[in-house]
């Protein structure tokens, strides 16, 4: 069942503060975080978070399409290594 709209999206308080501090400093840094349950807000776009997956921090560069999703969706907790085949990696623009 969907979350009630009147509550607004859930974000851990400490994460908001960290993100504000990172944006204010203007430095290119990875924001370490454990709050996989937090919703990605529009003010996080352009920041890079290190989302903990229980073992290591997965770098997540937030883009507009990710707003509304949870951080945990982008840092899987189970290891899977596929084969390269003809797959291509695309450099992200910041």
């Amino acid at each position: 069942m969907a979350r009630s709209v009147w509550k607004g999206p859930f974000v851990d308080g400490y994460l908001l503060k960290k993100a504000e501090r990172a944006r204010g400093s203007g430095r290119n840094e990875v924001i370490k975080m454990w709050s996989r349950r937090s919703t990605i807000l529009p003010q996080f776009v352009g920041l890079t978070f290190g989302v903990h997956n229980g073992h290591k921090f997965i770098p997540v560069l937030v883009t507009e399409n990710m707003v509304g999703h949870k951080f945990g969706e982008f840092a899987p907790t189970r290891a899977f290594h596929g084969h390269s085949g003809d797959k291509k990696a695309v450099k992200a623009k910041e």
Partner: protein
């Protein structure tokens, strides 16, 4: 490091029917592209096959290989990896790189300090990530972005990285990784050894928490 001369597109995992069709687990971005780059060969290049895709089933590609006319011949190929020459893949666009070209390349900082070499290229939905491993076995995940990876020089076989602040401190030692796996194996073994007791214990624990 020289670029790979062959790329593995898939492996034969089973057979289908009695007319020699095989099931191929495809490693290509679009599974049906296993037949898109011309004839495939085995690892040594000794045997070559033309691939005709018949369809897809259960996560595999159904295909017919030239010279394989019955089920027994197809069964004999189970486990065979299918390769094409690297040159058969079309040129990538600007800012696009084949995983096969990136894997194995050494990575260094702008100052020339080595960070390790690329082990894998990951994508969990938030852009591509380079997984690096240094000579001490430490692992580093580097976002594949303009800021973090300003230069990829395939001709000279190197990648120049500018890791964001705090990323180098997040390197995970291989020992920790092995420890995690070992702990998991121990837990699994313990569960298997005392299966009934373990399950009962778990149930009691849960009951306790509920109370």
């Amino acid at each position: 490091m020289p670029r790979p001369d062959k790329v593995c597109l898939g492996t034969i995992v089973g057979v289908h029917g009695v007319q020699g069709a095989v099931r191929i687990k495809s490693f290509t971005a679009d599974p049906a592209d296993v037949a898109a780059y011309g004839a495939v060969s085995d690892e040594s290049g000794g045997r070559r096959f033309e691939v005709k895709v018949l369809g897809q089933a259960r996560g595999t590609v159904l295909a017919r290989l030239s010279g394989v006319a019955d089920r027994n011949a197809a069964e004999a190929l189970r486990g065979l990896r299918l390769y094409v020459p690297r040159a058969a893949l079309p040129e990538a666009n600007e800012d696009e790189f084949y995983h096969a070209d990136l894997i194995g390349l050494p990575v260094e900082t702008k100052e020339g300090a080595p960070l390790g070499s690329v082990r894998a290229v990951l994508n969990f939905g938030a852009g591509d990530i380079l997984e690096l491993r240094d000579e001490n076995g430490r692992e580093l995940l580097l976002p594949f972005s303009d800021a973090a990876v300003p230069e990829v020089d395939l001709a000279r076989g190197r990648i120049v990285a500018s890791p964001p602040e705090g990323l180098l401190e997040q390197r995970v030692p291989a020992a920790a990784e092995a420890g995690g796996g070992a702990a998991r194996r121990r837990r699994r073994k313990r569960r298997a050894a005392g299966g009934g007791a373990g399950a009962g214990g778990g149930g009691t624990d849960r009951g306790g928490a509920g109370l």
